[in-house]
Symmetry: C2
Subunit: 211 residues, 2 copies
DNA sequence: CTTTATATACATACTTGAAGGTATCTTTAC
DNA sequence: GTAAAGATACCTTCAAGTATGTATATAAAG
């Protein structure tokens, strides 16, 4: 086919990414074929190889989409923060709600966590994931640090431990939830549980006892 | 080659499973070839297809190995249990230590969690994993139930929530630890953190304040 | 106790098919 | 006119499946 206008080309690129999202999700990255991605996007492999170097390139571009979404959350966690555990709980609840309401986000995370094997030529993707995770943990640690400096953190919970703990907790719950038939909701039970946890690590109760 | 004695054949089967463990671990299940598995085991693909129907069959046999190990832990969690949070903490600490000391266990879990894509023909494997996880959660729930009946569980933590929480926590920490360069140890920081958590959910302190 | 038949435990070879990479062709925007 | 934006076609690789070869363990028959 012929040369398209620049806007049309960008649309093609987005269509390819959308298609990759879908195909990777139900075939897994390794078993997904570029041909199917192209057909779902309404074009051919020629277009794929024009916009992306190879399958890894396509995958990394998809990962970039998720990184952008994660950065949004991270920023919100920083901005809305006033140094209280209360505000941390709010920010995390908001993030959970976002996962439920933004299907793209859910699909992308499912792909990165459960639809690919980080091995061999996928190594650069692994690095990216690791870095993103490290940044989140570090952000959490800084928040807990601030809480501690206010004297609102129980001495049994140094900021590092609290951050690792909360990160692992959220990560574990997300894993379980992403598998599909979870018997809980992120904005419901999970947010409640996290509030309960934040109550635990508080030097003094934050949510007024039984709220 | 010729027919081997039954014992030799069993040894071959074990060698193939060991080889699969290694090859799956560093190539990922999807990219691993049965030919390489066979060569690592010191035989050919003929042997693989004799002992296992296909790659999925080989994978399921590997999974069975892990299920057996997990059942051991589950049984220990039931046997050593006297209904106190203290004994739960001990059982979990023992399980963590086991992960550190039993390399096969670590490799198997890494494969099941991070080296395969549960999709399409891998569906039966996914079911097996889900069932194993459900059993663990259910076991934890029953333990918490017993603790609650003794009046030792904080009313803020119904057994279901506590079980889901602890399961997610351990799962998240294991995921992180399995990725390789974790900045913590299972028998050290993780066990400590879990004890801290169990202190949180206790109706009254269990480890004597600052132990 | 020997012989014989048969199933066992693989090895080897052949076929098939899917997928990725690359090269070339075709329009058309700029 | 030239380079962008793909389509089409070709080639190669690689792995799974299958079929068949083959020597021997083993159990049954004599």
């Amino acid at each position: 086919m012929a040369r398209r206008t620049k806007q049309e080309a960008d649309e093609t690129r987005e269509a390819l990414l959308d298609a990759a999202e879908q195909v990777f999700l139900d075939r897994g990255v390794a078993r997904a074929s570029l041909d199917e991605v192209a057909r779902v996007a309404g074009c051919t492999r020629g277009a794929v190889h024009w916009h992306f170097r190879d399958k890894l390139g396509l995958f990394l571009a998809l990962d970039e989409r998720l990184v952008l979404l994660q950065d949004e959350v991270k920023d919100r966690l920083c901005i809305e923060e006033d140094g209280s555990l209360q505000s941390m709980a709010c920010a995390i609840t908001a993030a959970m709600k976002d996962f439920e309401e933004n299907p793209r986000r859910r699909r992308l995370l499912t792909i990165m966590l459960q639809r690919c094997e980080y091995v061999a030529e996928m190594a650069p993707a692994l690095q990216r994931r690791r870095q993103a995770d490290t940044e989140i943990r570090e952000t959490l640690r800084r928040r807990f640090q601030e809480v501690a400096e206010r004297g609102d953190l129980s001495p049994a919970w140094p900021p590092e431990r609290a951050a690792l703990f909360l990160y692992a907790l959220i990560s574990g719950l997300l894993h379980e939830w992403l598998r599909g038939e979870a018997d809980f909701t992120l904005s419901g039970e999970v947010s409640d549980a996290i509030r309960s946890f934040l109550d635990c690590v508080a030097a003094r109760p934050v949510s007024g006892g039984e709220k």
